[in-house]
Amino acid sequence: MIAVLGLVVGVIVGLVVQPGIPTALVPYLPIAIVAALDAVFGGIRAMLDGIFDDKVFVVSFLSNVVVAGLIVFLGDQLGVGSQLSTGVVVVLGIRIFSNAAAIRRHLFRA
């Protein structure tokens, strides 16, 4: 419950305050968000499986974000940034979909 409240408060604060972010981080923010979403879906699924652990969630959340950012950064340095970020988004999207399918099976038994 507190976690859901945290998400809602984050969205509201982001919409109301509109904080600026450093321009150096601008290209990484979308990828980081997708990676974090992947971690969140994985966490929900683990919770439904009854194997949720907050330490694992925190580590996977942060590592997802960092690794996604690193991959995009590396791609930018190599000159294939857009292709690599597309690939990251595709992989993360597949994982999100598979996690969502597991969640759906838990909740709706279908």
């Binding site: 976690a3 998400l7 809602v8 194997i51 279908a110």
Partner: protein
Amino acid sequence: MSKDEDRAEPVAEPPASEPGTPPGGVARDSAAADAAAPGDARDADAAEAGVDGTAAESLSGRQRLLAAIWPPRLNRAQLLVAVLLFSLGLGLAIQVRSTSTSDSQLRGARQEDLVRILDEVDARQQRLQSERQQLQQSLTTLQNSSQQAKEAQIQTLTKEQQLGVLAGTVGATGPGIELTITDPAGKVQADMLLNTLEELRAAGAEAVQINDVRVVANTWFADAGTGMVTVGGTQVSQPYRFTVIGNSHDLDTALNIPGGVVQTVDKDQATATVTEKSSVAVTALIPLTSTDYAHSAQP
């Protein structure tokens, strides 16, 4: 939404899945999670060692979700996850806001995209610059031509004035002399006046008027009786007043040379007086007539 999930289903699990098999489904899901993501596999590891390991078998997923959501528990784990989700929500809101505002189309663009856009803008700017240069050139050309036209008009006007003075269609003023030939005896004839005119022209007279008759190239003289001369069809009686524009000194000298006009007139018992003036006006005009047969050879 359901369509997307269906599309993703083959990726998540083998196609031979059938609904409504809780224990097998759960086991297979965790296996799939192991295969899909190492992080999730560690989830499973942690769960084996964790506190919820025994309860996982007895509760369904829905019940566990309800239990997690209500009642709200305030502990370290919840706070940590809340902080992470807060940052996620914040980033989500920022990104959505920055992509939805119209002016920040470039904000999320990649470096090569920006370079391409910059190139396009540069090329466009160059194109516009060259267009501007072309337009400027044509503007200059037009201005030049209009200036030339104006110049030509001014020259034409000046020429018209000069030719008008020569042809007698416009009045003229300038320095010159006035020559008055008083001839009470009526001895001065047309040839005398013609000689006088020739003398004046030789001395550089530019516009000549005798009494009220303008003298031009085709003016003719004829005797009309005692003390009268026909000048260009108009009878003129003595005294004959020549109004002449030209270099007054030259004209005066030309008339007063020995054997010149003044002496000749004196011989005929008439008197000729020359007055130099700084400004005389030739006001008599000849009506402008267009030629019937002769046309200008110049285009």
